[in-house]
Symmetry: C3
Subunit: 167 residues, 3 copies
């Protein structure tokens, strides 16, 4: 028999503060391979600790179209599985219209490289994750870690960590 | 001829409140099979109703790496299609490095089970959904329902429903 | 050698405001084909400009289960790749239980059409994206554009653009 919502729920935060507090930090990363799963959880936790926000949320946002942000478990063999899955889904060596530089008319860089697969993989991942903050802590579950995922080639990357809440 | 933004837009909420109001509720679920799509919309709506937040947003967050949160339509035959798609994408019976317990060195539980497929399916789903609150109501579209999706095996699961806004 | 977080981070916003400011605008779109990638970035930027919010975030939310919101690059050949990938992943002509109107018992419309593939594609996309606002600007990276993606057939669609922050 299904228990009622009242029996299944617990209030973990309730706040009415006379001020909204916001902190946004940009963090730089140098990726070293692709796909690469960089565990950024400790950085996010440090920033939330320093923000002095007791309740609210933190959004971890990738400013890139070929580097994603996702939550999963940080177990080395699993990361191999996830990398293999991404490659299967949109292999680097497959044909992409985006890689046909003879026909491209927009968004061409000097250092343009064939990264159609990276954009395709990104389509099914995400640019951001949003996590509740309770009692000043990022409320991740036991196995949850936040990853910046490099899908293209090694390069500098930039995350925004945006904390919105009350002090 | 394309209409201007002015002609296509409508202001549905505008608020400047002297206080930020935040409520976070944890809800427990007992899943019974996998994949299982549990419609949690009514629970989320009840919590937002009780929060006394007129404008802002609600984030529904799964604290698990093998249970996801997604919005889709609650039509029983469709849920069969979605389940089949998840299985096709990352079948439970395929080989995963994560399932090779002879080589795993970290994150081993007493009750560890072979769930590489669940993590792989989770990679392309999400840990959370964020929905606007307008006039105290969760602004879902006509067919939108919020699901907790069990990807692993039946067990207790925990969602956070984090309401951030103004009273 | 890995640089410390202090060396890699930069504070881009810090605010403690005596009021929370919220604006939610609904925008209508008429889609013309499927899949169709409609670049809604300029609309979102206009709304954030008008909201008078200096710091916080904007959530772009699709009120539909067969139209998604995603961030990617707006390069015409790439959009062809993304469309092809969606079709490969869940082809319109494949068999879906959801399309068997002889067995459907719920959610039947007068104008119901066979759109199982659209719901399946939506499962691996998202209903929304959340982007930080810094100094009154939507903090997208250089190549990032926000898309409404029509997955079903041409029709009116509705996005909510929900701005939450401080003035």
């Amino acid at each position: 028999m299904e228990r009622t919502l009242e029996a299944r729920r617990e209030t973990v935060a309730r706040a009415e503060a006379p001020a909204a507090r916001i902190l946004c930090e940009a963090i730089e990363f140098e990726t070293t391979t692709a796909p690469e799963f960089i565990d950024v959880t400790d950085d996010v936790v440090s920033i939330v600790d320093a923000a002095g926000v007791q309740f609210g949320q933190v959004t971890v946002f990738s400013q890139h179209t070929t580097a994603a942000v996702k939550i999963n478990e940080n177990e080395p063999l699993l990361l191999q599985d996830l990398a293999r899955l991404l490659s299967q889904f949109a292999p680097a060596e497959a044909q992409y219209e985006h890689n046909d530089f003879t026909r491209r008319t927009v968004n061409m860089n000097e250092d343009e490289c064939a990264n159609g697969h990276s954009h395709c993989q990104h389509l099914f991942l995400s640019a951001s994750e949003t996590i509740p903050i309770v009692d000043g802590r990022v409320s991740l579950g036991r196995w949850q870690r936040i990853f910046l995922i490099e899908l293209d080639h090694p390069r500098p990357r930039r995350l925004l960590v945006n904390v919105v809440g009350t002090g």
